[in-house]
């Protein structure tokens, strides 16, 4: 019985590594071949500034998601562990989150694109951000990446947070709730404080699920970003080079994270359930 389980785990692990490898190849290709079509520095093609626009995107997306996920986890801990179930704030937030996380992620992408295109005029009038002059026909977008001084950056940040947080909060709450009450009771009855129970029992047991939830949320966000970029390539640009690189990068990132998160659940979280 145990032997069969070990073999299964082993095989699953190998399959996952192979899948991750397959995902990794296009990413590597993109990073290798990335021509700096979307920067002005295209003339000086050193390896560093060939990579920099893509890494800049990735860096922005990862750091935003990381912050959003951390904040989401903190929210979930507060809701689940500190507020009683009858608290009206908790009920309100949980209901809103249930609605938000039920919305298919493409709507967030379209929302973001919509806000960007339709508010461009207002943004230009206010003069807060340096909005490209010829934004209406879309050609200016070729120059825009996730530079942190463009409106794209701020809108992307907001929408990423809006997409990542509800799913993170939901999965983290479920993970904390999945730690069986007898375990908590046992620790409390031995005199442990709330924080000791969390740190020594609840967090170690729920950690895999929390991590998997964060990865899943980020995977959804990346996939939607890739989709929007895909639509953009198809609709607006005449020179798809730089954008298709980004498309591949985001899409493979999404695939990587989703495989990673389901592997975590399959291999480790279900194993800890047996002892829960």
């Amino acid at each position: 019985m145990i032997c069969a389980e070990r073999i299964q785990t082993f095989v699953l692990q190998r399959i996952t590594f192979i899948l991750l490898g397959i995902v990794g190849i296009p990413v590597w290709n993109v990073l290798q071949k990335a021509d700096a079509a979307d920067t002005e520095a295209a003339s000086a093609l050193t390896p560093l500034n060939t990579l920099s626009p893509l890494l800049n995107d990735l860096y922005a997306v990862l750091s935003i998601s990381f912050l959003a996920i951390l904040f989401g986890i903190a929210c979930a801990f507060y809701l689940q562990e500190w507020l009683p179930e009858t608290n009206w704030i908790r009920r309100l937030v949980e209901n809103v989150i249930a609605i938000l996380s039920g919305v298919p992620s493409i709507f967030y992408g379209i929302l973001a694109t919509g806000i960007f295109f339709y508010s461009a005029g207002i943004l230009k009038a206010i003069g807060v951000f340096p909005v490209p002059q010829n934004i209406e026909d879309g050609s200016a977008l070729e120059l825009i990446s996730f530079q942190n001084d463009t409106p794209v950056f701020y809108i992307a940040v907001l929408v990423f947070i809006l997409m990542v947080m509800p799913i993170t909060i939901q999965t983290t709450q479920a993970a904390l709730g999945s730690v069986a009450t007898p375990i908590r009771e046992a620790a409390y009855a031995l005199g442990a404080s709330h924080w000791q129970v969390l740190r020594r029992q609840v967090i170690p047991l729920a950690f895999t699920r929390i991590l998997a939830g964060g990865c899943r949320a980020m995977s959804g966000a990346l996939a939607t970003a890739a989709l929007i970029i895909g639509i953009y390539i198809w609709r607006y640009t005449t020179d798809p080079g730089a954008f298709s690189n980004r498309f591949v990068l985001f899409l493979s990132g999404a695939l990587f994270l989703s495989i990673f998160s389901s592997t975590l659940i399959k291999l480790y979280a279900s194993a800890s359930d047996r002892f829960n």
């Binding site: 375990i183 046992a186 005199g191």
Partner: protein, 261 residues
Amino acid sequence: MNLQTMPMNYSIEAENLNLWYGDFQALIDVNVNIPHGQITSLIGPSGCGKSTLLRCFNRVNERYGNVTTEGKIEVLGKNIYDADVSLHELRKAVGMVFQRPNPLPISVYENILFGLRIHSPVRSITRTDADQIVEEALKSVFLWTDLKDKLKARATSLQLEQQQKLCIARLLPLKPKIILMDEPCSALDAKGTRAVEELMEVLAGTYTFIIVTHNMAQARRVSKECIFMFLGELIEHRETQVLFTDPQHEKTSDYVHMRYG
């Protein structure tokens, strides 16, 4: 009787204890004195408040929220509802064993040290001390010969009987004075029940045991004194043999003779 020496003979003294869960009154004017160093059993039909009373003694029921308590409980001469009482110290002195064995999902070794680790500064327990503590705790619950080669095994992988004994062993390094047991044998078979009962009898001199049980034969076998509760009230508290053979109260008599549904 000399009243001056009274507090020394009792581990727990509850006076006019009333408890509400929201609007529902679960304990009504309970007055009880539990003698030191012996086994006292709590019997009564389901929902009569015996588990609630037990959980008052280490204030573990407060976690559920919506609980109001009135009255006084003195554990080892100290009112546990005083503002200066530390729940840490109270629960260290009053250990608890639950209905379903609930070892923590870590190794046997770490289970026994868990209580000690949360009550002492980080890294203050040396390896040799720890080994000795684990050995002593397991020896006193007669698990050492079975488990000495399995100390690193997950506690949740043991047999139920061993798990329940481990839950008792886990309390011992904290040197509690009182051990509360909430139907400790209801998840065990006859052999397991017998083993846990024998263990209680051996440990009874050192610790005060309070056991909630639905099994009247068990109450009769293990306990010296017996408390019968009904709908939140304490009906009768007498020596076990007397309570079973010559109950004063009609409800007690109905219950112990199984005329009560």
